[in-house]
Symmetry: C2
Subunit: 326 residues, 2 copies
DNA sequence: AACACGATGGCAACCCCTTGCCGCACGTTT
DNA sequence: AAACGTGCGGCAAGGGGTTGCCATCGTGTT
């Protein structure tokens, strides 16, 4: 038989549909006794509210969309996990959308979903600030791993993280490092480089940048060759995938890591722990990042437009075998 | 200003709302000229249909839900990617749901979402056959990495795959292998063991099973110790995570892989390629699996209830350093 | 005893879009 | 010229809930 509706429940309980509705969504508005009767009728019939009908009028969908710039990057899975957990805690559904590194596709998907979700989680968005503000005008938005003035965001503390990286390399005697940059339109790539350069200057270390590189293992070859050409004794890659590709290429070319070259990555993905040598990488509370982002999104209504928090979570430098004395 | 509705477009174009609706969803029903006028008015106003209102009446939501039993397992990422790609190709949205290995949670989430999605993709569902059939009565369902008579499914060819594993180990001189079983309610765990045992018998090899183990790296320790106790020269782990944990533990205990013990995994996750030694594992077209599953789901309406295909995709044994002569 | 007021339930409009059915204006057939 | 299509728009009824407003009832106040 067809799914029971609120009308069926109303008939069964001998009340009006409005009473049924209120019994569920506004318990204080009906007497305890009536409520009890409605709920038991509903349970008996196996009634479940139709989310679409509910959303149509109320405008609340109990759904948040998370848009990731590239779902193939294992780094995002931690964010997704955290977001999914927090969303489910509040009985929200997480919609996952992949933008495949294409700003246009990202924009279109967001526009398509805008009327159907309560807000957007944008992970490492490739859209320009301007567009992000437009989206924020329509729906609450929380940026992940990106900051834009006036918009809510959650990021890891890469300034401090880069300082740790430089300090670590410095203490091992490295006086020159090269940064393998990420994609041109990646905010993270710009941020990491700025923080790295600044930290290097303070530590009396030389930092150079080459790239940009698409942050995938397959690009590690080209990146490694470029880095060797540069002559630095330490390589800081835009992320772990690239770093792993670099190590593979270095090993293939007969260099020893870390005896000849040290390599550092970002993200602390699972593979960083099992590759050889283990990858020294800047990790952090990625699951928390996802969690906090949803938290911010769900509480967005309670904040004024000009009160959008920018949460910064701590990083931790995970030392493994890929870094050693210069 | 508020999002324009079909009424605004109708007014702007000087037609009735029904005409606007048809201009979009039933082009043959209006004259080319009228359609043109409606579309340009709509474009001008920036009109986008409200998916909820559309779904409410039509019953089609252009959304499919994918339920994974444990989102922390990187193996699923490939399935998710494939499913996401195929869904987007048809302008469908993919809803991602995590069941956290809990059948109860899986069931509740599915019931909650049932009225809001066009179908379910259930990856490695932990629900009993009975429940799966109930779900299939409500909505189209496609199982991934699981088979239930009468329901559509996509799986890798583990019978052939296990044969390959046994043949490989056999050719290296292994005469005894031990299988580290997956979770008790996992269909895959049962299937792999059955296939392995059968293949082993034919090859004149002894196969024993220990477990079950939760398929995580952290369980590799206990699994490895159990396997060593068994005395077999080759270990076949339920999946790569477990296998990697096993290798770590073996190495820690001073054994050499593969000189002392060979290890084989399942899934060919990214980390299998970068760990040391590289993990020999049974891979397959996981992205295709996701793709095909969505394909089946989207075409489910066209098939009779008793014509639910069970697609079997090929596997490939990826040889790496973790297996060697006995 | 007359009145005020809070608690509770029902009525009906509304959210936005789809679709069955009707009617009109043509063109075609015999 | 009468009888018939046929193509195309509009009307209006939902689809399943939510919510503003009104009616009713019981209790407390003076």
């Amino acid at each position: 038989m067809a799914r029971p509706t609120i009308y069926d429940v109303a008939t069964a309980a001998g009340v009006a549909t409005s009473t049924v509705s209120r019994a569920f969504s506004n318990p204080g508005r009906v007497s305890a006794e009536t409520r009890e009767r409605v709920l038991s009728s509903a349970a008996e019939l196996g009634y479940r509210p139709n989310p679409h009908a509910r959303a149509l009028l109320s405008g609340r969908h109990h759904t948040v969309a998370m848009v990731v710039s590239d779902i193939t990057n294992p780094h995002y899975f931690e964010l997704i996990r955290g977001a999914e957990m927090r969303a489910r805690m509040s009985e929200y559904t997480l919609l996952l959308v992949n933008a495949e590194e294409s700003p246009r596709m990202e924009w279109e998907q967001i526009q398509r979903l805008a009327p159907a979700v309560d807000g957007f989680l944008l992970a490492a968005s490739r859209l320009p600030d301007e567009n992000l503000r437009q989206i924020a005008d329509q729906r609450p938005v929380v940026l992940m791993s990106r900051e834009v003035p006036g918009l809510a965001s959650v990021v890891l503390d890469h300034v401090e993280g880069c300082r740790q990286i430089v300090a670590h390399l410095s203490s091992l005697g490295h006086r020159e490092l090269v940064y393998l940059a990420g994609p041109r339109n990646s905010w993270m790539a710009a941020t990491r480089w700025a923080a790295l350069k600044e930290a290097a200057e303070r530590a009396g270390t030389t930092a150079r940048r080459i790239g940009p590189f698409t942050p995938k293992v397959s690009q590690g070859g080209a990146a490694a060759d470029g880095a060797l050409n540069d002559g630095a004794s330490a390589i800081v890659a835009h992320n772990d995938l690239l770093a792993i590709g670099v190590i593979q290429r270095l090993t293939q070319r007969g260099l020893r890591v870390p005896a000849d070259v040290s390599v550092v990555g970002f993200d602390n993905i699972f593979a960083a722990d099992v590759c050889t040598p283990g990858l020294t990488t800047l990790g952090g509370a990625h699951v928390d990042l996802g969690r906090v982002a949803v938290e911010l999104l769900l509480t967005a209504d309670a904040r004024a437009d000009d009160d959008q928090p920018s949460v910064v979570l701590p990083t931790e430098l995970v030392l493994r075998g890929s870094t050693g004395a210069a």
